[in-house]
């Protein structure tokens, strides 16, 4: 317990007062883990991590980061506190160059450290290094996702929080993105991710939670969860509906 980087307890959150979307969710992310939050559409997965990142008003519960209470801290203070968030869409500044996208996120670093840190990101993401002057809006979907992740990592976060990193990507890029996340974990970064693409996420995750109606209903080791009958009951019916209506869902 003591090595929990992120400890979310009994969180209730929502955009409208009196209409909670997250209804008493508790999750723990230990140091060095990849934790996946799964759940049917509308379960409140995105709202949960947005609330953690300070973007959805919290009405009850606590969020502890390295033991420190960061519940409902203003969103712009989160990177300084050690939590970096990658939104699902619109997660880059489309009219700025790749390099300026990285640089603008370095506000909490010392100006002298910034150039070296940007080079470290280029070393980790060679695709971005080749396009430093490219206007970010012209990048491919996979490269945008890479830029968004690099931008989040550049400030040495204690935990990287991602909202459906595979959303809207073609199948080829989906595997690229998950390989990238597995690689980032190897370098020692703790990751919390919400994902619709359960199979791919469980393949790289350590543990997973199933969120239903705003509450964590099940928890388990990621590799076992795929065949867990309880998960099938909570989630599978909904998932089958998804793949019928969306057609392309993985």
């Amino acid at each position: 317990m003591s090595q929990a980087v992120l400890d979310v307890r009994d969180l209730e959150a929502g955009y409208e007062p009196g209409v909670p979307i997250v209804r008493g969710a508790s999750i723990i992310v230990n140091k060095g883990e990849i934790v996946v939050v799964l759940g049917p559409n509308g379960a409140g997965k995105s709202s949960l991590i947005k609330a953690i990142a300070g973007l959805v008003p919290i009405t009850r519960g606590t969020v502890l980061l390295d033991g420190k209470d960061i519940t409902a801290a203003p969103a712009h203070t989160m990177v300084r506190l050690g939590l970096a968030f990658v939104p699902q869409t619109e997660n880059i500044f489309p009219l700025m160059s790749v390099e300026d996208n990285l640089r603008v996120a370095c506000g909490i670093l010392k100006p002298r450290e910034t150039p070296a840190r940007i080079e470290e990101m280029y070393a980790a993401f060679p695709d971005l290094a080749r396009q430093r002057k490219t206007v970010a809006g012209n990048l491919s979907g996979g490269q945008r996702q890479m830029l968004a992740v690099a931008r989040a990592l550049i400030v040495h976060p204690k935990v990287l929080v991602l909202d459906e990193p595979s959303a809207g990507l073609s199948p080829k890029f989906v595997s690229t993105v998950f390989e990238m996340l597995a690689g980032i974990r190897k370098s020692g970064v703790t990751i919390l991710l919400v994902e619709q693409n359960a199979r791919a996420a469980l393949a790289i995750g350590d543990r997973a939670y199933v969120l239903v109606e705003g509450k964590d209903r099940h928890e388990g080791v990621a590799s076992e969860l795929w065949n867990d009958p309880v998960v099938a009951e909570l989630y599978l019916g909904q998932r089958r509906l998804d793949s019928e209506s969306k057609g392309s869902a993985a």
Partner: protein, 302 residues
């Protein structure tokens, strides 16, 4: 035809352009058209005039820096006036715009800026009366510089000042963390917060820059023409035309738009007659927007 309109147009364009920078920044970062921006110009000019008066009262009469019509008191007063106008813009945001912005309806903020515009102007009329006044009544001899063009030393100094300020703002916007934060905020406000940008701080910087530049434009008008409470309001349409022509959000665009409007108006006065002045600039604006709806330096939203 007489090429004098080039100098007149460049000067008018500088004033319009300096104002348009504030308009374009407010529009792209705070997402509303601030119709009180013209009145920041007038307030800047009167604030500077008041400080010049105070300096005169403290230090007695000070000779102008030859060959200019003004001396160091005006230069010092301009810097103080820029600070005062920046603070005025901040104060207006604090008591009025920020509260309405929080309610989320852009049109309400725009209408409030109309109200603020009238209130600011009426305050000036109340304190300083509506009679025109001047920084200096000295008459400058314009020097011939060839091609039938004549310029006064004041005009040269003010064109140089405009160039320095525009380059400075452009440098700030593209090369500093503050400027990148402003760009980021204009492109995606939610993401700007996520990457750690303190939105309230960036908004404050935006108001101070806009207010300070409006003050310089107002003082330019005061030096070259005259100071009166309506001086800024009369600049409002050309300023918006310049900001839209240049492409909303673009500092170089706002300045280039200002110069185009200024030159077109000055040329029109000479070629067709003064009564067509405003019409010509708006015909140009419409023509450009037909071909390029996002303005000269504008960028399509992706």
């Amino acid at each position: 035809m007489n090429l004098q309109f080039v100098i007149d147009g460049l000067l008018a364009g500088s004033m319009i352009g300096l104002g348009a920078i504030g308009v374009t920044l407010t529009y792209s970062i705070l997402r509303f058209s601030n119709f009180a921006h013209g009145d920041f110009m007038a307030w800047g000019a009167y604030a500077t005039l008041a400080v010049v008066g105070a300096i005169g009262a403290m230090f007695g009469k000070i000779a102008p820096i030859a060959p200019l019509s003004f001396g160091w008191p005006l230069i010092a007063a301009l810097i103080i006036g820029m600070a005062i106008t920046g603070l005025l813009a901040l104060l207006l945001d604090l008591v009025l715009f920020a509260r309405l912005r929080a309610k989320g309806q852009a049109i309400i903020v725009v209408m409030a800026s109309f109200g603020a515009s009238m209130a600011l102007r009426s305050l000036l009329e109340f304190v300083f009366t509506s009679r025109p006044t001047y920084f200096s009544r000295a008459i400058q001899i314009a020097m011939p510089v060839g091609f039938g063009i004549r310029v006064t030393p004041d005009q040269i100094a003010l064109l140089l000042l405009t160039a320095v300020l525009v380059l400075g703002v452009h440098f700030l916007m593209t090369r500093t963390q503050t400027g990148r934060s402003m760009q980021a905020l204009s492109q995606n406000a939610a993401l700007a917060r996520i990457v750690g940008i303190d939105v309230a701080k960036v908004v404050r910087v935006t108001w101070i820059i806009g207010g300070a530049l409006a003050c310089v434009a107002g003082v330019m008008i005061g030096i070259l023409i005259q100071i009166r409470p309506f001086m800024g309001f009369d600049m409002l349409l050309p300023m918006f035309a310049a900001a839209i022509l240049g492409g909303i959000g673009s500092v170089p665009g706002a300045v280039l738009g200002g110069l185009i409007i200024g030159l077109a108006e000055a040329g029109a006065v000479q070629l067709i007659g003064a009564e067509w002045r405003a019409a010509v600039s708006f015909i140009i604006l419409m023509a450009v927007l037909f071909v390029r709806p996002i303005g000269l330096f504008g960028v399509r939203e992706r």
